[in-house]
């Protein structure tokens, strides 16, 4: 189980690099709650895009959901992964992969 707090630190994200075709929805509270914003996907060009988070999200992100096309060729469908800093009250929806921590 991945845990945002362990990997990067809760309320610690300030910038992102996102691959073409991928997006991330950021939440200011654990369990996919609080303020939210979605970044991406870029539909043109190649490679990734880079973003600095605006006030209100800079160093405020506690959970996020990433959506994109799996790099695993055996998984042809769109996949959604979720990461959050609190496992409380969260159950991954069908088609999602849930990651929870403390």
């Amino acid at each position: 189980m991945a845990d945002i707090a362990r990997q990067i630190g809760n309320d610690a994200i300030s910038s992102l690099s996102i691959a073409k075709g991928w997006s991330i929805t950021l939440f200011t509270a654990a369990g996919f709650s609080g303020e939210r914003t979605t970044i991406g996907p870029r539909r043109d060009g190649v490679g990734g895009d880079r973003y600095n988070l605006i006030d209100g999200f800079d160093n405020e992100v506690s959970s996020f959901i990433i959506t994109g096309v799996s790099a695993d060729p055996s998984r042809k469908n769109q996949v959604t992964s979720t990461y959050h800093g609190s496992a409380t009250g969260y159950t991954p929806a069908k088609g999602q992969e849930g990651y929870s921590g403390e």
Partner: protein, 137 residues
């Protein structure tokens, strides 16, 4: 590849005090050479570099060191050992180059990912980072 290969010799002696002492102390020089000859892989590269740097200055230091060249000419074990040092140095250089290339590739990947999202603790995609994709991170 010869033992006088300039690409091997460390041009700078960081431990000048030790080098000076070594050049004036035959017993220490002999002990060091004996230690090197007895060393088993992996070779102490730092020590070997120091010895070889001194060796490269033959004629200016203790005969115990200048004698290394003559000993190597007739001592197969010594010559083999010196060859090991040279080979290790080449391996070390290649490893360092490979590591640098890997770091450069990793840096490029996290800034321009082809899959997934990287998050960073500092602005402009710097600082501590973690990558997330469709699979488990």
């Amino acid at each position: 590849m010869g033992i006088k290969d300039k690409t091997f010799v460390n041009k700078t002696l960081d431990d000048k005090a030790f080098a000076d002492k070594l050049m004036g102390d035959k017993a220490l020089a002999d002990e060091l050479i004996a230690g090197l000859l007895a060393a088993e892989s992996p070779v102490d590269l730092d020590l070997a570099k120091l010895v070889m740097a001194l060796y490269d200055k033959r004629g200016t230091f203790h005969e115990g060191m200048t004698g290394l060249e003559h000993r190597a000419a007739r001592d197969e074990d010594l010559a083999s050992f010196l060859e090991v040092i040279l080979t290790n140095q080449v391996i070390e250089t290649l490893r360092a180059e490979s590591e640098a290339a890997t770091k450069a590739a990793d840096a490029e990947m996290i800034l321009n990912p082809t899959s997934g999202v990287y998050v960073f603790t500092d602005r402009n995609c710097k600082g501590k980072h973690a990558g997330f994709a469709g699979g488990r991170a």
